[in-house]
Amino acid sequence: MTTDMIDPLVEPPVGPAQPAEAAAEKSLSKWTLYSRRFMRNKPAVAGVIILIVLVLFATLGPLLSPYAVNDMDFLSLGKGPSAEHWFGTNGAGNDTYTQTAIGLQRSLMIAITVSVGTTILSALVGTAAAYFGGWFERIALLVIHFMMVVPTFLMLSVISNDSGGVWWVIALVMIFIGWFFPARIIWTMTLSLREREYVQAARYMGVPGTRIVLRHLVPNIGSLLVINFTMGIVAAVTTETGLSFIGFGVKIPDVSLGSLIGEGSTSITSSPWLFYFPALALTLLTVSMALIADGLRDALDPTSAAGGRA
């Protein structure tokens, strides 16, 4: 529709004629505003609750179990869920409940490290390359384009296998192979952002370049970063799962959701609980992250239906 009427969803006109609801000198801060908007989004809140439950399960869950992750109960080998072993045991007699909790813990640690790492790295490199231009941009793009033609998954498999499946090595390598695609997307987005008048205005005010990048450019690709971050967690969990599934990831005695699912899938007909419990944990994790991503995007979006109000 090509009308120039005021769209009440985008710009609620707030004139001096309307009394300000809060006459206090310091009213709502940015963060209370964001959290209120987020809290109104029911699915997102459900996502947070699921995530909290999962995190509690991963951290406190093992304490509730009488078995350690590598304990073997020779009296119940490959038994289904029971009062003694809530999620059953595997063929070696390991308690699946404990293993799922520890595996989730490991997977979460890898996923969060990787996602934080790639998001920060890609945001900084992408925006800085676009804003500063010149040789900085040329080198950054050269590296990005070079990385794109490197068979990264192969690299990841080889390095993680060499390291003997240490989780932080896997995480570091995953950051190393994961930052450049988002960085390139952020670079293109920032190119148009760079030409916006408020960036120009900030430059004319004498705001230093690094500050412009951090205060204006990065927040304005915020919704993209939030989605990148939450989707990055999903991607990292699935990559790690895939890696462990084919045997290159986390190695025994360490467990992760991927190694558990990989192990469980071989015996899905005879002992399905070995597959279903870790798979359920994985599904809940990814779904909750997707819901949170949605809620965050709406809460942080300045053009959202809530406008400038809470």
Partner: protein, 642 residues
């Protein structure tokens, strides 16, 4: 004679999340062949929605009721395919933006021929011949050759000519022009308005001219309808409306426009507040909150559009319960409806110009862009001279304006100053410091305190992710002001520009256009600059809002002893606000001097052409004015400076 278009009680509403938006609330008018109806109003007044309803181009979720009779047929209720037979044939439309109303991937000729063959059975040869005729008619040189050109090969004005050619292709009975000249330069605007008149004479069509510019209305319209909040609030023949105005809103609109033909320096009369939201409107006059002569009765019922008797005796209707009390010239009981404000004055303005200190001096500013060739190793093959060595100075407490049309180099000049580009042969001196002497970032940053800028687009210049307080304090934190001081200063600045300091934690999109521009001004003033650069600060604003911002700038200049460097294409605004003016053409000042001197006694033919092209909001003056056309080949003499 029966009217071509007869609209009765047209109502349009849209469903939105916030509730039902009543965009048009009861519009009725008749339009006869050969006549022009001007529909004036600000953004959100429903004028564009009215025109789209006539064209049947509204969104699917729009609810339309009432009656639109075109040429004896009822248009409402017709299917899209039935309407397609009428659109472009019986009714055609000229859109605002010529840059986007032509498809970039087809040649101009192909688009013209398509418009012709879609409604008529023409052979390829006939269609081609008719298309060339049309291009010739709208004044495109070498039409045979230009038929094969793509839209991007035309300038904005030329594209609008093509759009008009397409609009008149099938001899329509009704042409709807929705802000046809808003995106164009003034000299081009004058030509396009002439062309629309010509198209009207050629086809005998009725024209619906939708605009926010009272000058354009004064020039083109036979009848005028002023719209506010989705309703017509005053309807009358053009002379009657301009001379015997009876509705406070229309009076306000006319009072809010600066005039290019008068050397008035008294403040404009802005209409306070903002238009209402069109959701759940109460049964009251929608203008009541902004009206200077509001009474209790205004808030109990919405006034109807009723006939008013005036000395002129013409058919005149207004929606105001006090319209019979209002006299000619916007007076009520011997007093103006809008109280006149005192013009601000200070000791500084009484000091002769020569004795005031210089805040900005530009000497021989030059900017050339290299023309590069080659795919890999770029070779310089020539230069484009964007700015050809201009010099001027701005003194304390004065406003220097640079006017010019697009491509004249005025924005480049601004950017050169703001970027503090070192000049090889000239110099830029800001508050006593030459940019050629800047040796370090620190010095540059310190100098930036003294020169600040306000941008044209009030939305684009404010970071949507930052609160108003953060935006206003940004220049302060850039120079390292302590936090407590910043907090105090933000409140003070918001108060100064007429914003409620309690709104400091809101985001810019919660404010209207005028308020956003005030935020931009507050930000520019935060460091106590000596000079403020204003880049078309009011051109994106509605007329009534624009007047408020202009008055604010006037007040601030006097109160804070500021100097302004004002860049604009709107000469009426320049005449009102500026003390000195420079007319820029092709990168050079063709005329430079005192504002009244330049406007009343223009020496250079380009200045004369520019001044004669601006529509004046007075139908009597506007229709008798002689337009001067500038022929670049005629310039042989040197630029005039006084």
């Amino acid at each position: 004679m029966s009217p071509v278009l007869s609209v009765r009680d047209l109502r349009v509403s849209f469903a939105s999340e916030a509730g039902r938006v009543d965009a048009v609330r009861g519009v009725s008018f008749d339009l006869e062949a050969g006549k022009t109806l001007g529909i004036v109003g600000e953004s959100g007044s429903g004028k564009s929605v009215t025109s789209l309803a006539v064209m049947g181009l509204l969104d699917e979720n729009a609810k339309v009721s009432g009656s639109i009779m075109f040429d004896g047929q009822e248009l409402l209720g017709k299917t899209d395919s039935q309407l397609s037979a009428i659109r472009g044939n019986g009714i055609s439309m000229i859109f605002q933006d010529p840059l986007t109303s032509l498809t970039p991937v087809y040649t101009v000729g192909a688009q013209l021929i398509e418009a012709l063959t879609v409604h008529r059975n023409l052979s390829a040869k006939e269609a081609n011949a008719r298309a060339i005729d049309l291009l010739k008619l709208v004044g495109i040189p070498e039409p045979e050759k230009r038929m094969k050109a793509f839209p991007h090969e035309f300038s904005g004005g030329m594209r609008q000519r093509v759009v008009i050619a397409i609009a008149m292709a099938n001899d329509p009975k009704l042409i709807i022009a929705d802000e046809p000249t808003t995106a164009l330069d003034v000299t081009i605007q004058a030509q396009i308005l002439d062309l629309i008149e010509k198209a009207q004479a050629e086809t005998g069509a009725a024209v619906m001219m939708i605009t926010h510019d009272m000058g354009v209305v004064a020039r083109t319209a036979d009848d005028v309808m002023v719209m506010y909040a989705g309703k017509p609030v005053e309807q009358a023949p053009v002379r009657e409306l301009f001379h015997q105005t009876r509705m406070p809103y229309s009076i306000g609109l006319l009072g809010a426009i600066p005039r290019v033909d008068k050397a008035e320096k008294e403040p404009l009369t802005p209409i306070k507040g903002n238009p209402p939201l069109l959701i759940n409107l109460p049964d009251a006059c929608p203008f009541a909150d902004r009206c200077p002569i509001v009474m209790d009765a205004c808030r109990t019922r919405e006034p109807e559009l009723l006939p008013v008797a005036t000395a002129g005796g013409a058919e005149h209707r207004a929606a105001c319960i006090r319209s019979h009390e209002i006299e000619d010239g916007g007076m009520l009981g011997g007093l103006p409806v809008y109280p006149v404000r005192e013009a601000p004055e200070s000791a500084l303005t009484r000091l002769p110009r020569e004795e005031r200190p210089i805040t900005l001096e530009v000497k021989n500013l030059t900017k050339t862009f290299p023309l590069l060739k080659g795919a890999f190793l770029k070779r310089k093959v020539g230069e484009v001279h964007a700015v050809k060595g201009i010099s001027f100075d701005v003194r304390e407490g004065e406003t220097m304006a640079i006017v010019g049309e697009s491509g004249s180099g005025k924005t480049t000049t601004l950017l050169q100053i703001m970027d503090m580009i070192k000049q090889t042969e000239g110099d830029i001196v800001i508050a006593g410091t030459s940019v050629n002497d800047i040796r370090s970032r620190k010095v540059e940053r310190a100098l930036r305190r003294d020169i600040q800028i306000v941008f044209q687009d009030p939305m684009g210049a404010l970071d949507p992710r930052m609160t108003v307080a953060d935006i206003i304090s940004e220049p302060l934190s850039a120079i390292g002001t302590p936090k407590a001081e910043i907090q105090r200063r933000v409140g003070e600045l918001m108060d100064l520009v007429g914003l409620n300091p309690a709104h400091r934690d809101r985001f810019p999109q919660a404010f209207s256009g005028g308020q956003r521009q005030r935020i931009g001004i507050a930000r520019a003033l935060s460091t106590n600059p000596k000079i403020v650069v204003l880049d078309e600060p009011v051109s994106a604003l509605d007329v009534s809002i624009q007047a408020g911002v202009i008055n604010l700038l006037d007040d601030l200049k006097v109160k804070l002893g500021l100097s302004y460097l004002f860049v604009a294409h709107d000469l009426s605004v320049v005449r009102h606000i500026a003390d000195r003016v420079a007319v820029m053409y092709l990168g050079d000042f063709v005329e430079h001097g005192d504002v009244d001197e330049v406007f009343d006694n223009p020496k250079h033919p380009y200045t004369r052409a520019l001044l004669s092209a601006i529509p004046v909001p007075d139908p009597d003056i506007e229709r008798t004015r002689q337009r001067i056309v500038f022929d670049p080949a005629s310039v042989t003499d040197q630029p005039v400076a006084s």
